[in-house]
Each structure stands twice: as structure tokens, then as C-alpha cells.
Amino acid sequence: MTQGAANTPGLRNFDWVMIALILAISLQGLLQVYSSTRDTEFQSAYSLHAVWLGLGLVAFWLLSAVDYHSLADASPVLWLVCVAALAAILLWTDPVNGSRRWLPTPFGVSIQVSEVTKLALVLVIAKYCSRIAPRPAEHRVAGDSAGRRRSARAAPPSSLRILVMVATVFVVPFVLVLNQPDLGTALSMCPILALPLLLSAARMKHIAVAAIVALLLLPVGWSVLKPYQKSRITSFLEPDKDPRSAGYQIIQSRIAIGSGGLWGQGVAQGSQTQLRFLPTPHTDFILASLAEERGFIGVAILLALFYALLARIVQTAKLAQDPQGTLIAMSVAGLLLFHVVVNVGMVVNKLPVTGLPLPLMSYGGSSLLTVLAMLGLVNNVRLRRFVN
């Protein structure tokens, strides 16, 4: 699976359509970060955000440059480093705002290891799952003999071992992140496990069973939640019951969105955003701020851009030269969709407040960097769609 230097794709082979979509979304994010932080203590956020955007594009390029097969081969080592770092954070750092998330480095920059871990997980899980993926011939080619089909149904002896391995690879960092505690990030790791499994291993019947089991486990999950997490969910269900504390964000978000109307109040004109009634208008609730100032039209354009980006990634997944590439692309698509749905659902009061940022939009370096790095992986897969 090695590639000759002569075949290394150049910049002009990059997926410029995807890059255009990425820039269209993230520049709107940059504008909204600027608009929602004017005259506040965060007023320089947009320039920092621009720097992160630049760094993210570098990460995009870096993760496009090296063949994803090589990256996947190296990913177990990266995974080990991440897990060790997560453990170290839990053991040796002091909590900031009640949780341990940041690994200090000698260079004065702290790293949110959980984000890097996601990257490692995408590669590791895609790598292992691709091994249990049905052989293309079994899966697709018509006119095959019935005998070969039957042998495909009988799971190869190695696939159970691989499943256990995949589960372990996922559960260890998942539990570590959960203990930081960072429920939002931990939950956002789930699509990285779910999509490759759903695409490669599971049969539809098993998926249905898994969904039912998950539903049945919901009450158990409720009982292990911390009080503040419970209050987020109850206040999501009944925001007007406690309008001053937990329900405040939700109510103000609804007001901001609703008062935007069809065309919006105009950039830097939304009173909910500008007078800071809307909490965190440049991070988690950036879409509420955008909805207020740009209206339903602005939201529709943005969601259309997100859908176009997803569609482009899905197309890359279909074009990938092997299941591993498909799984990488679909992992990223799943992760992106999960983030968008959870954040937007929260903003319009259809899902509880989780504190997940809106990818490519919300202010915050680690989120932006991770998402762009992952999109770099997708570009990587597309660049190497041709089997040489």
C-alpha cells in the first residue's frame, strides 16, 4: 500500500469545493464572533479566531499531505500517547472550572488532549473496522456463487477479536474523558465508534437490537448523571419553570432567534447579542446570535452550507479507494453531523444544553483545529481515491 513519490498528489488535486464550503462557513463564524464580542472583554476574540483558522488550515494541509494509510499505521502509537496524556491529566493536574481537560506543555500552550484523541480514534477505529468489512466481492459483485455468499455471512473467526479490540480502543479514552468530567466531548466521541461499526460490521438486525438496548439503558444513564447535568435536561424540557438560572440561556436563545425574524436585525444590530442578554453568543450559542442578526435567511444559508459540506464528505466516502478510506470519511461526516445537530438542537431548544460548540463557527481554538484536521483527513482520502 505504499505510494511512490511521483504519485504524490499536489495542491491542485485538493478538494477545492470542500475547501470553499469550509471557508464559507468559517468566515461567517469569524464575522459572527466579531459581531457578538464588540465592546466586550472578548473583543479581540475574532483576531485570535482568525489565527486559529489559519493554523487549522495548516493542520488541514498537513493531514492531507501524508497518505492516510501511513497515518493509520501510525495511529496506534498516537492513540497510546493520547491515552497516557489523558491519564496524566487526571492524575496530576488541578481542576479548572471543576474539570481537568488541559495538558500544560513546556511551550506555554495548553493542549486539550481529548480533541487530539478524537483524531487518533478516527484513524485507529477505521483501521480495525476495515478489516472486518465484507470483502468487496462478497458484498457487491453479482453472479457470485451461493457458497461464497454463505461464507460471508458466517463471521470470520477473527472478527469477534477485532470487535473487542475496537471496543477497548474506544472505551478507554471515553471513560477517561468522562472522568474529567467532560460529558459533551465524551458523547461527541460516540459517532467515531458508531459509524464505522454500523457501516462495516453490524447487520441491520443487530443495529435495531442495539438501539432498543440503548433506549432501555436511558434511565440508568439518567441515574449516573450529575445534578447539574440533570438540571440542564429538566430545564431544557421546561425552561420557563426556572427562568432565572438553568432555563435562562434557553429562554434568551429563543428570544434572540425569534426576534431575528426573516431577515434579521442586521450584523452587530441584535439587541439580545449586543446587550449581552444572550449568554456565550460567540461560543456555544453563536447560531442564536447569527439567527438574531441575519434572520431565518441567514440560518437557512448556513444550514444549507453544512449540508453541502456533509454531502461532499459523503461523496468522498463513496469514492474512497478502500473501506478504510470510506470509514475515515464517514467517521468525520458522522462527527460533524453529531456536533451540528447537538449544538443547533440545543440552540433551538430541541435538545438539552450540552456545551458542544458548533463546528467551524464557534470561537475556540481546539475545536476549530480538530475539525479542520479531520476535514484534512477527508481531503486525504479523496486525494488518494485512485488505486495506482
Binding site: A133, P136, H139, R254, G260, Q272, L275, L310
Partner: protein, 615 residues
């Protein structure tokens, strides 16, 4: 591309397509949610956003002053700093701290804020009136911590004196939730100060101004960014009463804290010159706000200081009823000037003995003497001749047993008993002995002091009863230009009969009568005393308790021939009617002083000249 490559691209194709469909469905659903907020309900949310960013601060209009007939202030407004709290911004955690620093009850405050929200008031509501300097400093210093609290310079009601005219003025206080739901205060918003009783309640609308509004742009911390608009407050209008402060003060000093009331009015037009009730309270304490304990204390006080005895207290009328009773006899034709009864000190009837207040008997008395000496036996006889129905009919003609419809809230009608009344309310037949008791104003008959003044005053001016009023016709025309003044009630009485009554009542004061205490040198006073029993004489003498002592009445008018003022005084447990007579005399003395000084010289002379031949 062939073979494996072609095959690889088919990997999990169906599920990938399914994923894309799910993604499209989810995003479409989310977009629909935005449409629900932005397309369908946009206006409602825009209003909420407006409510967020615009803070309206009320500019409270000062209440109109209340003046006496000479323009002296009875109630005015003065500047005070009030604390306001924004019901929408109030955070439960802050309330306790605010309440503690301002000396308020946190639970009570929470309830108020809930009430305000129930009444749809999400802006500022009164928190505490008349803040001290330390409290103002506390609020100013903690603006960022307590953005819900604001300070407003407003005017607060101030009643002059320590309770002068308290009952007739009434008091103002914050409207209760029940009052806000009533028709009367339909226009008042939550937290509005309204008149709770007396003049303040009756003329609330006239006295209340229109509040202004200051609209400011604020941020989420309540910091004011700019002023959007100012609507100035319109002050309430001035109300001039017919009360003469001097007479009022004399009446109140005369009562001197004893339970009782004094009403002075001009029988020619019904204008009330003094309306005093005792004991008094200080209405200022209601304005300042009292604790639950203080409130309960005032309401549970056995002296009932809040009761306006002049219009809400009823007592047996006693002998003051005798002129009315005598007139009934004259008009009904059962007696004339020469009708004479021999008083032997009492009357036996149906196995009971009804004594005269003079145990030795007055001997033979005619009508004028009977009034002058207040002979009970004469009226026992007359009552038996007339019967209860006739007595009741004439009593009602004189204005008893019905509200005088004075312009004060919560007046009570008193009672003129009759056969029908007894059967209907007590389910018992009328006994002829009761007629004897009613003949001298005792028994079930009860009147308010204002009724006593109103009834006797109407007789004194020849059978015309003007509705008592605290606001002159001229002032009333300003308040309600469409209101037609109620015409006086007239009763066509034989002049000769009235002259007999006047002679009797003249003798009470100026002859050998029971009311010599009321005599004045400068002016001729007519009147009638009354000493009404609270319990039987036997009980009173046996227990010797102050609350069993007789009530003292006196109703007098002056000048006798052409009355311009009638004064009724009642002192509960006052023992002797001459205490009441002295009180009426003092009021009349001050009135006379004013009359002689303030009337134009020419008119005064002509009046005096006109009166001389009559006197």
C-alpha cells in the same frame, strides 16, 4: 478502473446513502424549528427582546393637595426617595440580601413579586418607600450586584398634624390585589398608591395624577446606556373641602380622645364644616407602611380608632329625638300647643313602670316645656297616641334610618324600628312597651352623629334636607361637570309647628332647660340634649362600670331664627348631656368668631339688622 477498485467503491453504499438521508432529514427538521421561532412567532419574541432591553422607570405623579375651605393644607405631598424592584429581573438569591439590608420580610417580598407577575407587571414595582440615607447608599453602592433595584425620587402623602381630620381624609396606601380586581380601581396598575378610605378614596381619581415614564436602553446587567424617551408625570389636582380647619380642631380637642364624634354642617346647603371622630389615628403610618404587627395592633384596638364614628357609629338617639317626635305629633294632628301632660315622674304600662329622668315629676307640661325640660312622660303619652308606625314614618321623613349619602365611603344607615322590621329581622311581634321606649329615642332606634345633625338641621331650616357634602358645588362642578347636584329633600311643614319646636329648643339653651351649657353671648343658640342609656339604670348603678355610663348627645344650631350651622356632638359614656352641650358651644363660639370677622362689613351689618326684630 476495474476489479477491486470498482468493488471498493461499492462498500456499504446503501448505508452511506441512508446516512445522507438522515443528515438531510435532521437538518431540515432543525431548519423547521428555526422557522417556528423566526417565521411564525417572530413578533412575540421581538416584544420579549424589547422587554429585555428597554427598562421603563415610572415617574410617579404627586397626589393633589387637600385643603380646607380657607385654603389651609390638610394633606400634601412631599419628596421622598423610594426603592423600586424590577419584578422581571429579581433573582431569588438576591431577594434575601436586599430584604435584609432594607429591613423587609424576604418571604413577603417574594410573594409581592409573584403577585406583580400575575398581574402582568414585569417592570418596576415599589420596594420600600422613604428610604433612609444609609439605605440609599447601600443601593447606589451595589448597583452591579443588584441590577433589579432602582431608586426613584417621588412624592409621598403627608397628612398635617397628628391625625387632624384623619377619618374624613382617609389615607392612601398601595392597592391590594383585591382592589386591583375591582371596578373602582380599574385604571390603577400593580403597586399604585390609592385612597383607602375617606376623601382619599371617594375622590381618588381627581387627586391621582397620571404617572409618567422614563424609557431607557439597558444591557443584561441593568446598566443604563441611553434614555429613549421621557413622558412627564401629570400631578393630581387640588381638592378644596368645605371643612373649616378651626372648627375641626376645636371639635377634636373637645372630644379629647374620648369615644365620640362631632359633625358641624351648614343646613342651608349641606356643606360640612367639621366632621370629627375620636379616638384618632395618624394616617401617616399607613403611608409609611407598617409591619404586620402594627397593622394588627391598630385593627384589634378595642378603642377602634379606625372607625369613623361620625358616619359609621350608631347610638340610640335619646332625647335628641324628642323634637322630631313632637313634630310627628303636631303634623299628625294629635297634639297642639295647648296639649298638656301631667308628669308624675313616670308611667305605668302593661305591668312595667317607665320612669322620667326627673323622678319627682315635672308636673303639668306642654309641648314647649316638654322639649325644654326633656320630659319623658310627655313623650311616652304622645308615643302611645301616635303608635310606632306613625313615629317611624315621621322619623324617616326627618332623614333617620337611611344614609345621608354624604360623599364619604362606607356610611351606615342607622335604624328606625317598626313592626315590619321587627317581624322580618327578629321574627317577633312588636310590643306596645317598645313604642314607649322608642318615644324617647331609646330601644332599637339608632342613628349616626351625621344623621342627627342632618335631621335637626333640616328641621331648623324649615323642612329642607340638603345632602351633606365635603366638597362644595363649585368644586364638584369642576370634578364632574356632567353631575347634576341632587335636589334637596323637602317636607312641607306647618310654619307654626316649626316655631313651636324652635321655641322649645330655644328654651333648652336660653331658658330653664337642660342645655344651658351651650349658651353663647354673641349669638342665639337653639338645641336639644340627649342622654341615652346603654344599659338599664339598675344595671348601670349596680356595676358602676365606665362602659355602662350613659351616652351624651347635644345637637344645636345657630342663629336660632335663621340657622346657618348645626352641630351634633356625641360622647360615648359621656354621662351627662351637658358635656356634649359644652362641646357644641365651643365649636359654635369659634364659628361665630369667624363669621363676624370674615363676612363683608356691609353684609354683616345688614344681617345683624335683619335679625334684630326677630330675636
Amino acid at each position: 478502473m476495474t476489479g477491486p477498485a470498482e468493488s471498493a467503491r461499492g462498500f456499504a453504499r446503501g448505508r452511506i446513502v441512508l446516512f445522507q438521508c438522515i443528515a438531510a432529514a435532521l437538518l431540515a427538521f432543525l431548519l423547521l424549528s428555526f422557522w417556528e421561532l423566526q417565521g411564525l412567532n417572530s413578533l412575540g419574541y421581538a416584544a420579549q427582546a424589547e422587554e429585555n432591553r428597554v427598562r421603563s422607570l415610572p415617574l410617579l405623579a404627586p397626589r393633589g393637595d387637600v385643603l380646607d375651605r380657607r385654603g389651609r393644607s390638610l394633606a400634601s405631598s412631599r419628596v421622598a426617595s423610594s426603592g423600586l424592584i424590577n419584578a422581571a429581573l429579581a433573582r431569588p438569591g438576591n431577594l434575601e440580601r436586599i430584604a435584609a439590608r432594607l429591613g423587609l420580610d424576604a418571604r413577603h417580598l417574594e410573594r409581592r413579586i409573584r403577585d406583580a407577575q400575575r398581574f402582568g407587571r414585569f417592570g418596576y414595582i415599589p420596594l420600600k418607600e422613604r428610604l433612609s440615607v444609609a439605605e440609599i447608599a447601600f443601593v447606589e453602592a451595589n448597583r452591579t450586584d443588584f441590577p433589579e433595584v432602582a431608586i426613584l425620587d417621588e412624592t409621598a402623602r403627608r397628612y398635617s398634624g397628628s391625625g387632624v381630620a384623619a377619618h374624613l381624609l382617609g389615607y392612601v396606601s398601595e392597592a391590594s390585589t383585591a382592589e386591583l380586581n375591582s371596578r373602582e380601581f380599574l385604571l390603577s396598575g400593580f403597586g399604585a398608591t390609592i385612597g383607602k378610605s375617606g376623601i382619599e378614596k371617594r375622590y381618588n381619581q381627581w387627586l391621582t395624577g397620571r404617572d409618567g415614564q422614563l424609557r431607557r436602553l439597558v444591557d443584561s446587567r441593568g446598566r443604563s446606556l441611553e434614555t429613549l424617551s421621557v413622558t412627564k408625570a401629570v400631578a393630581g389636582k387640588r381638592l378644596k373641602l368645605t371643612i373649616d380647619l378651626d372648627l375641626q380642631v376645636v371639635a377634636e380637642l373637645g372630644l379629647n380622645g374620648r369615644k365620640g364624634a362631632v359633625v358641624a354642617l351648614d343646613p342651608r346647603n349641606g356643606e360640612i364644616l367639621a366632621l370629627a371622630s375620636s379616638p384618632v389615628y395618624d394616617p401617616n403610618m399607613f403611608v409609611e407602611g407598617m409591619s404586620t404587627g402594627e397593622w394588627q395592633q391598630v385593627h384589634a384596638d378595642p378603642q377602634e380608632p379606625l372607625l369613623n364614628r361620625a358616619i359609621q357609629g350608631t347610638w340610640a338617639m335619646g332625647s335628641v329625638f324628642k323634637p322630631i317626635h313632637a313634630l310627628a305629633g303636631l303634623e299628625a294632628g294629635v297634639l297642639d300647643e295647648s296639649f298638656t301632660v301631667s308628669c308624675a315622674g313616670g308611667l305605668a304600662h302593661g305591668g312595667s313602670y317607665f320612669g322620667c329622668h326627673n323622678r319627682d315629676g315635672h308636673g303639668p307640661v306642654n309641648l314647649v316645656q316638654a322639649i325644654a325640660l326633656s320630659c319623658d312622660v310627655f313623650f311616652y303619652q304622645l308615643g302611645q297616641l301616635l303608635g310606632i308606625e306613625t313615629i317611624a314614618r315621621y322619623a324617616r321623613l326627618a332623614g333617620l334610618g337611611a344614609k345621608t349619602r354624604v360623599d364619604l365611603p362606607d356610611e351606615v344607615p342607622g335604624l328606625v324600628p317598626s313592626t315590619r322590621w321587627k317581624v322580618q329581622t327578629l321574627l317577633q311581634p312588636w310590643h306596645s312597651g317598645e313604642t314607649i321606649v322608642v318615644s324617647i329615642g331609646q330601644g332599637a332606634m339608632s342613628v349616626t352623629p351625621i344623621q342627627a345633625a342632618h335631621a335637626i338641621g333640616g328641621l331648623a331650616v324649615g323642612g329642607t334636607w340638603h345632602r351633606p357634602r365635603l366638597v362644595s358645588r363649585e368644586q364638584m362642578a369642576q370634578i364632574d361637570p356632567s353631575a347634576r347636584p341632587a335636589p334637596p329633600r323637602r317636607w312641607d311643614i306647618d310654619r307654626e309647628h316649626l316655631e313651636l319646636l324652635r321655641k322649645g329648643m330655644w328654651t333648652v339653651v336660653n331658658g330653664a332647660g337642660t342645655g344651658r351649657q351651650a349658651r353663647l353671648a354673641d349669638i342665639e343658640v337653639c338645641g336639644k340634649t340627649g342622654t341615652s342609656q346603654r344599659v338599664s339604670n339598675e344595671t348601670r348603678l349596680r356595676y358602676n362600670r365606665p362602659e355602662f355610663e350613659d351616652d351624651a348627645w347635644f345637637v344645636g344650631f345657630a342663629p336660632c331664627e335663621a340657622p346657618e350651622i348645626v352641630v351634633a356632638a356625641l360622647i360615648e359614656n359621656g354621662k351627662h348631656s351637658y358635656h356634649a352641650a359644652a362641646l357644641v358651644r365651643d365649636v359654635l363660639a369659634v364659628w361665630t368668631l369667624h363669621r363676624n370677622r370674615s363676612a363683608p362689613v356691609d353684609a354683616d351689618r345688614s344681617l345683624a339688622a335683619a335679625r334684630k326684630p326677630l330675636a
